[in-house]
């Protein structure tokens, strides 16, 4: 059984099928933990809510200001990488074919930005190797866990 699983992001879901998921590794979802912490911190709560609205905009395939969202795919890489940001908060996601966007990592520490992107890309590479030719939908959690 894979250590990777995809958890649907329900709060930004409008359609019958979510198009944004968060990555769980070995039973831990970094984004879910990050979201919970930021929503409980008054100085970050509004930023976190705003960024969820931007993620919704992305899943609706609508235009987003460059200050909120950018494509950070390295040259020559066929798998798209995205950064959502609002002030200090940055969320890193990758496009998974036949599934949608998968949030892999989130941070609010500006000093660690370069290191965060490297970690995100390393995790993404491991994940893509793990998915291989499998249907990505088989990685979606079949429990009631939702974000």
């Amino acid at each position: 059984m894979s250590k990777f699983a995809f958890i649907p992001l329900e709060s930004t879901r409008i359609g019958s099928r979510p198009s944004v998921y968060a990555l769980e590794i070995g039973g831990t979802c970094q984004f879910a933990d990050f979201l919970g912490i930021k929503l409980s911190e008054p100085q970050y709560r509004d930023e976190m809510i705003s960024i969820l609205r931007v993620i919704e905009q992305f899943s609706n395939m609508k235009m987003i200001p460059k200050t909120r969202f950018r494509d950070i795919t390295p040259k020559g890489n066929s798998i798209k990488e995205y950064e959502f940001k609002k002030q200090a908060i940055r969320i890193y996601a990758a496009k998974i074919s036949n599934l949608g966007a998968l949030i892999i990592f989130a941070s609010s520490d500006k000093d660690s930005q370069a290191r965060d992107i490297k970690n995100f890309q390393r995790t993404k590479s491991q994940l893509i190797a793990e998915i291989g030719n499998k249907n990505p939908h088989t990685f979606i959690t079949n429990t009631n866990i939702k974000i």
């Binding site: 329900e10 409008i14 979201l35 931007v54």
Partner: protein, 140 residues
Amino acid sequence: MITREQLLREPAYWTEDLKLSLFEMLETYRQQNQLSRKELADKLGYSKGYISQILNGNFDHRLSKLVELATKLGMVPVLKFETVERYMEIEQTQVLQRTNVISTSTMLNVNLVKDYQVQSNPVYHSSMESDNVRYLRIAA
């Protein structure tokens, strides 16, 4: 964990929603008219800094300024309000209609008008039938 309903009850969600709406209107106009930010600012009689703030999604508008900007683009802002419960019903009905789970006539029975049905996002559309009004849209 935050539910859809909890998210919709957050003021920050709607503030961001309006900023994105304003950005979409102005960026669409800029692209359609093939204007740089500077050219757009000159054409509308605003500073480049003001235009950049909107296109960066950072401007917290005074109502009068928002109305002025919309009308300069040949648009009118339409403000409507819905209860959260009603808004969620509309979202779900729209999804069902989009996926052909329910018919057009059913749609009309839940008070949605024809041109609302083709919109991909109900937030920005002005023609949703309702006596209660609680969302803002820039309508052509």
